[in-house]
Symmetry: C2
């Protein structure tokens, strides 16, 4: 069948995996029977287990689903530590269901795939050697990609049933009370991991920093934890978050950032109490700087900033330009240490952040979202997953989720090197064009024709170059030429869900 | 059958309600499949409903289970407001499942019983006109009494299925983010209500204090809330918690408090990092004062204080004599306002506080608990539920839960007026003698013969009068004479669960 973003979804996939094709960004008001973990009661004085090896042996069986979080980012030691024991112990047919996979995890997952330790993966994304291996057909079953909000939905509804969660934390007591805020490897919000803590049947904490009991504030609570393992090091503090934030000096990024700011400031959403999510990356940080200036000049305060948080956003909070930061993840040390000290920086879990299947997520109240893209097509569909060679090298993250904002802006260069960003048809649809309002490139912007209100307001902005998306696509093609069509086999290697659990696209094995 | 505290439980009750009789205080390590709510998804911008009447009409059906919390205590307006609408709308056969019922709720519940609006009740306790009505057979089915920890267990396992929770809060935003800490009617910890928020199918918040969105810190989260109703007043601030704390000048209470302190200080548990729960009431507050002195003299710090919190305990935290307060409920304004400001005063829910059916509760790590009693018998069984006339006038509260402490002390006068506190057999067994270690009266103490270690350590304390429990009972009888046996009909009007969900006793209708 063809779904509502015109992607061909093989019927066998729909049947085998019991999927429906993507229809609409409107989630509606379904009744959803939540699932709950099976809990083994304990009343003893300590949950300390002497080694990872032992706790793996006590908890794991072939065929189970295991999970991890990615808050340690490129500084993560926990994933490799645990996977090493699992592979060496000879487990088979596991489903790997982390919140996402960072580059430091790639090689050992490839090994786990080769040894049939892991035969299923669901993740926000994959990259590097792992993306390459999956795109070339290494994994037995298709990877399932889910946004952060959709992962929460899937766990709450039972689509993902976590048997054992292995969660690294920068501090914990002997009973498992833990947070992400204290210790050498502090990363701030535990947002994505909180869902695992609530729903996993068995929860193993790993920490290098045992605290006196009771360890508070407790983002993860002893009522959720089965085992605590003391390890030498959970991560490399220098690689967990980026350090001091440098604003971009790249003229192209600055140009895009200024135009993004123009779009926001001249939209109907730039008013007292508005809300925004800017994300990370050079242009995004520059937008925050421009936005700050506009907020001061117009005496406008934001009610909240959302999402992965950076130091420049924290600075706005401290300046009184934002009332609250709603924090599911911290991208740098400044943001992480602010969460510890600022009562107005609230830790939120992935469900509260972005799950459409609950009683209201933060993204539902979001005015402005600035998102990136690998490709945007002339239907405004966005690809953040597969490269121009068809190989998987991205992650959904909160892309589909934040794109439900009132004003969703894609900020992207028109071309990257010899590759066009705006294309006739994206390789993989991750976020449907229906939820994209404005595309901003260094040459100018394109407004989704459905948004006549925005066309009206932005047309009046002096010096803001507005094109149709087709015009931008042609400008890109003129610069770098038309791309050669990619060649794929018929084998599906990955499934991309929309945030409601329907199938928005499939990714096929690349032809060598 | 006779259960393990020698109470006769009618077989019909065991069969009709699918109960087992109480066996042991040891919960073991059962696997428990938790339940989860059925959630109606919503993504709209506001949950405000214009009236209680309307929200009742939208949510309630005959036969449903409804819940409330009792954190507003004797200042609660919410319970009466909601029950008035429910009774007037003519609903029938509801199960009332609040965390507890305070005196201001009595009369309207009696009315609801008379009108068959309410035909089942489960609560921590009942008192006053309601206790009287139930004891005289007014309610169609037996009331089920559950401790705070047991209520959490029952909700988590599905023994209590809350269809609609009506929770009053001193602040909330339009999406339902709320806490107990801010506003004129602030009461501090929302501990008992947090379980309702997590497990109820439908959650209605009532507040007189609508805050800008997003309202943080959010103890109750928008992801849990279906409706928000703005009402004129949720409570009377002057009656929510007791005001300034006065230490008792009653010489008998002071005598008991000093002896309780002697028991603690001379026990093996009074050491660096010990933990305690003192509760409220004149003697308990006095104990805290004596304990403070002993801690300073012996340079001992406590790792945590637990339970319902009072200002004197907060003072110990501020003095650095306690590392953490683990706070499920605040008994006075001082404790409530401290929760707002002290990062070391952690809000905990009822499950974390005291549920044996999770992965570890605070009470499992408790060294010293000081509890009260209406009656104690020569098997150390404690009654906190029925008066000497057989009429129900009490609440389990956290009694059974905290009694699992390493050192559980019952502090009680030997006699109250012409009524003995220490008796041959308690009217109703609520907490089994197995979990009681020492009984302290103004005349002296009795130590549970199972605790030879305590008999050893406390025998060496100069001037501490130690008796057998039988000797104390005889002293009481000598003072006030033997009580006339109570007369009951055969009809069971209330069931008292032990914290594991087994039946520890039944209460029968009093004979007029």
């Amino acid at each position: 069948m063809k779904n509502n973003v015109n992607r061909e979804i093989p019927d066998q996939i729909l049947n085998d995996y019991n999927y429906e094709g993507f229809k609409t960004t409107d989630f509606g008001n379904p009744d959803i029977q939540r699932v709950a973990p099976k809990v083994t009661a304990q009343t003893g004085p300590s949950k300390i287990v002497e080694s990872v090896k032992k706790v793996v042996a006590e908890t794991l069986e072939d065929g189970m689903t295991i999970s991890f979080h990615h808050h340690f980012r490129e500084g993560d030691y926990v994933f490799n530590m645990v996977m090493r024991e699992i592979i060496d112990a000879g487990y088979k047919n596991l489903t790997l269901a982390p919140s996402s996979l960072t580059n430091v995890m790639n090689d050992i997952v490839v090994e786990a795939i080769e040894k049939k330790t892991v035969t299923n993966i669901t993740s926000s994304g994959i990259r590097g050697s792992l993306g390459d291996a999956v795109s070339h057909g290494a994994l037995e079953n298709p990877v399932i990609f889910r946004s952060h909000g959709n992962r929460a939905r899937a766990i709450e509804s039972g689509d993902i049933k976590i048997d054992v969660a292995f969660l690294g934390v920068p501090n914990a007591d002997e009973m498992g009370n833990a947070n992400g805020m204290n210790g050498d490897t502090a990363f701030g919000s535990l947002g994505y991991a909180l869902i695992d803590a609530q729903y996993a049947n068995k929860l193993v904490l790993l920490t290098d920093n045992l605290m006196p009991y009771p360890n508070t504030p407790a983002s993860i609570k002893q009522t959720q934890v089965d085992y605590v393992v003391k390890v030498d090091e959970v991560g490399n503090p220098d690689k967990i978050g980026s350090g001091a934030t440098r604003f971009t000096k790249d003229p192209k990024e600055l140009q895009i950032a200024e135009m993004v700011n123009d779009v926001i400031v001249n939209s109907p959403y730039f008013k007292q109490g508005f809300s925004f999510q800017t994300g990370s990356g050079g242009a995004a940080l520059a937008v925050t700087r421009f936005l700050r200036k506009a907020m001061i000049e117009n005496q406008i305060k934001a009610s909240f900033a959302l999402g992965g948080i950076t130091k420049p956003t924290v600075d706005l909070l401290n300046e009184g330009l934002i009332e609250r930061i709603m924090d599911v993840q911290d991208f740098d040390k400044g943001a992480a240490s602010s969460m510890k000290n600022s009562p107005n920086q609230q830790e939120i879990d992935a469900s509260w952040y972005a799950d459409p299947a609950n009683k209201g997520a933060m993204v539902d109240k979001l005015d402005v979202a600035i998102l990136s893209a690998l490709e945007i097509d002339t239907n405004f569909n966005v690809n953040v997953m597969s490269g121009s060679d068809g190989v998987i090298r991205g992650a959904i993250g909160g892309h589909q989720d934040a794109a439900t904002a009132n004003l969703t802006i894609i900020s992207a260069p028109l071309v990257r090197g010899r590759i066009a960003t705006i294309v006739p048809e994206v390789t993989t649809v991750i976020t449907p064009g229906e939820s994209i309002d404005v595309v901003v490139t260094e040459l100018g912007i394109a407004i989704n024709p459905n948004r006549k209100d925005l066309i009206d307001s932005l047309s009046k902005v002096p010096g803001l170059p507005i094109f149709s998306i087709e015009e931008l696509q042609q400008k890109a093609e003129k610069l770098v030429g038309a791309a050669k069509p990619l060649e794929f086999t018929d084998r599906v290697v990955a499934l991309a869900e929309y945030r409601d659990g329907t199938l928005i696209d499939v990714i096929k094995q690349v032809k060598d």
